[in-house]
C-alpha cells in the first residue's frame, strides 16, 4: 500500500443545452429586470488602449449550417500582451479592458460579434513569444464539453510563423483554420465543427 494522492475528479461536463441564454445572457433571452446587463457584452471603453477591431464569425456544423443557439466566449491579452487576471504577474493589464467577452450566436444568421482590441504578444512557457491570438470557448446544444480553440490574425504572418502552438500542428494546411482574414477593421473567424475545414480544437 502507498499513501492516497487524495485528488478529486473534475465534475463531468454536460451540454449547455438549448436554453443556455437563460442563464448566461438572460437579457438577450428576453428575461429582463433580473440583471442590469448581460455579462461580457462590453469589453472596451473610450480609454482602452490599442487598435479597435471587430471579430465576427459563425460556428458551422457538419451539414454546413451555422449554429443559431451557441454561446461563444473569448479571452485575450490587452494591447501590451498582459491579461486582466490575478494570475498575471508580469505587470498590470490595461484597467480599461476586461479581456473577456461573451456573445450568443444570432438566432437569425448564427453570427457572433465582438468589439475588442488587437491583443499584444504574450510569452510561451519557454520564453518564446506567441503570436497575437484570442482564446475561444464554444458551448451549445449537442456539444458535450466546451470546445477550446484560438484565433490568430492573418496580418501577423511573421509572428504566426514563429508561434509555438501553430508550429505544433502536424497537418500544415490545418493552420489556416485558426487564422482569421482581415477586411478593414473586421476579422472573420468561422469555426467549423466537422469536415475538411474542421477547426483545430485544443486539449489545453
Amino acid at each position: 500500500m502507498v499513501q492516497d494522492l487524495g485528488y478529486l475528479k473534475e465534475s463531468p461536463s454536460q451540454t449547455a443545452g438549448p436554453y443556455v441564454h437563460i442563464g448566461c445572457t438572460p437579457n438577450f433571452a428576453g428575461i429582463t429586470g433580473v440583471y442590469d446587463t448581460d455579462l461580457g457584452t462590453v469589453m472596451v471603453n473610450d480609454r482602452t488602449l490599442g487598435e479597435r477591431i471587430t471579430v465576427r464569425g459563425r460556428v458551422i456544423d457538419g451539414a454546413g449550417a451555422p449554429l443559431k443557439d451557441a454561446l461563444v466566449e473569448i479571452w485575450q491579452a490587452d494591447a501590451a500582451g498582459l491579461y486582466n487576471s490575478p494570475s498575471e504577474l508580469r505587470g498590470t493589464a490595461d484597467p480599461n479592458f476586461t479581456g473577456w467577452g461573451r456573445c450568443p450566436t444570432s438566432a437569425d444568421d448564427g453570427i457572433f460579434t465582438f468589439e475588442t482590441i488587437k491583443p499584444g504578444r504574450a510569452p510561451y512557457k519557454d520564453g518564446r513569444r506567441m503570436a497575437p491570438h484570442i482564446t475561444f470557448w464554444i458551448v451549445a446544444r449537442g456539444i458535450n464539453i466546451g470546445l477550446h480553440t484560438r484565433m490568430y490574425f492573418a496580418d501577423e504572418a511573421e509572428a504566426n510563423a514563429e508561434d509555438p502552438l501553430l508550429a505544433r500542428i502536424e497537418h500544415r494546411h490545418r493552420v489556416a483554420t485558426l487564422v482569421a482574414p482581415r477586411e478593414g477593421s473586421v476579422y472573420t473567424f468561422d469555426i467549423h465543427l466537422q469536415g475538411d475545414k474542421e477547426t483545430v480544437f485544443l486539449d489545453i
Binding site: 485528488y7 478529486l8 475528479k9 473534475e10 465534475s11 463531468p12 461536463s13 454536460q14 451540454t15 449547455a16 443545452g17 436554453y19 443556455v20 437563460i22 442563464g23 448566461c24 433571452a29 428576453g30 433580473v34 440583471y35 442590469d36 455579462l39 456544423d61 457538419g62 451539414a63 449554429l67 479571452w75 485575450q76 491579461y83 486582466n84 487576471s85 490575478p86 494570475s87 498575471e88 504577474l89 508580469r90 476586461t98 510569452p123 510561451y124 512557457k125 519557454d126 520564453g127 506567441m130 491570438h133 470557448w137 446544444r141 449537442g142 456539444i143 458535450n144 466546451g146 477550446h148 484560438r150 505544433r168 465543427l193 466537422q194 474542421e198 480544437f201 485544443l202 486539449d203 489545453i204
Partner: protein, 249 residues
C-alpha cells in the same frame, strides 16, 4: 473584476483533463451531437498564460436577489410556484482546495418543467413569477448557496419518448480559462436520471453520480425549504516551484 491581494495568486498550469471521465464529443444517442462533434483529434498542449489566466468577477456585479430564483423575477409580494429548495455546496479543485471568488450562473425550468425561452414548445404553463436564472460568487471557503423551486422534468425531441430528469444547469468560472465548465445537477432518487440520453453521454457511472445532489436533511429549514448539497470540482493546478520562469518573470 477584482483581485484577492492578501494571497499570492497561483500561476501553475492545470492538470490535464481526464477525457475518459467526460462524455466523448460524439454520442449518437444524443442526436444533436452527431453533426456538432469534432471528428479530428484535439491538439494537446500544456497550458500557457492564455489558459492559466482568466476573468475574475467581483461581488459588485451581484444584485440582492441574484441567488433567489423564487423572488428575482416575481412581482412584489409574490413568489414562484413549486417546491421550495436551497441548493448549496462548495466549488473545489482537484486538489480538494476551495475555489474562492468563482462565479456560478445557474438556469432551470420552472416547477412544471417549462423554460422561459422563445424556442421552448412544451405545453406546460409558464409561471409569471419565475424567470429561471440566478448567480452567486463563492466565498473564501468556496461555498455558494441559492434558493429556488425544484424544476420539473420535461419531454424533449430526441427519441420519440425522451424526458429530461429534473436538473439545474451550472456555468462555472474558476481562476483560469482552462477551468471553464458547464454542467448539470440532478436530484437524489430520481429514476429518470438513468433513462436520459444526455446524462448517459457520460460513460462512467461514478462520474454521473458526481452530478447527483443528495438531499441535505441537516440543512433543511423546518416549515420552509429542503436543502440539496452539490459540490463542484474544477481542474487542479500544478505548483510552479520548480518550473522554468517565463521571460519577464
Amino acid at each position: 473584476m477584482s483581485d484577492f491581494s492578501n494571497q499570492k495568486p497561483e500561476t501553475g498550469a492545470f492538470f490535464q483533463r481526464d477525457r475518459a471521465w467526460h462524455a466523448p464529443a460524439l454520442t449518437p444517442g444524443y442526436k444533436t451531437s452527431v453533426l456538432r462533434s469534432p471528428q479530428k483529434a484535439l491538439l494537446s498542449l500544456d497550458g500557457t498564460i492564455s489558459e492559466i489566466t482568466g476573468p475574475v468577477f467581483g461581488h459588485s456585479i451581484l444584485g440582492e436577489l441574484d441567488n433567489d430564483l423564487i423572488h428575482n423575477f416575481a412581482k412584489p409580494g409574490e413568489s414562484a410556484i413549486g417546491e421550495r429548495i436551497i441548493v448549496h455546496g462548495r466549488v473545489l479543485d482537484e486538489r480538494g482546495q476551495p475555489v474562492r471568488g468563482a462565479l456560478l450562473e445557474f438556469w432551470q425550468a420552472n416547477a412544471g418543467g417549462r423554460y422561459r425561452h422563445k424556442k421552448e414548445t412544451y405545453l406546460a404553463p409558464l409561471d409569471p413569477n419565475f424567470g429561471g436564472c440566478g448567480r452567486a460568487i463563492t466565498g473564501e471557503d468556496g461555498s455558494y448557496r441559492f434558493r429556488t423551486v425544484k424544476p420539473g422534468p420535461y419531454p424533449w425531441p430526441n427519441g420519440v419518448n425522451d424526458w429530461r430528469p429534473a436538473h439545474i444547469h451550472f456555468s462555472i468560472f474558476g481562476h483560469g480559462f482552462a477551468q471553464r465548465l458547464i454542467t448539470q445537477m440532478y436530484f437524489e432518487g430520481d429514476p429518470m436520471i438513468w433513462k436520459c440520453p444526455i446524462v448517459t453521454t457520460i460513460p462512467d457511472r461514478n462520474a454521473i453520480e458526481q452530478l447527483i445532489a443528495p438531499l441535505d436533511w441537516a440543512n433543511t429549514i423546518p416549515m420552509d425549504a429542503r436543502a440539496y448539497k452539490f459540490d463542484i470540482v474544477l481542474r487542479g493546478r500544478r505548483s510552479t516551484l520548480f518550473e522554468n520562469r517565463m521571460e519577464g518573470n
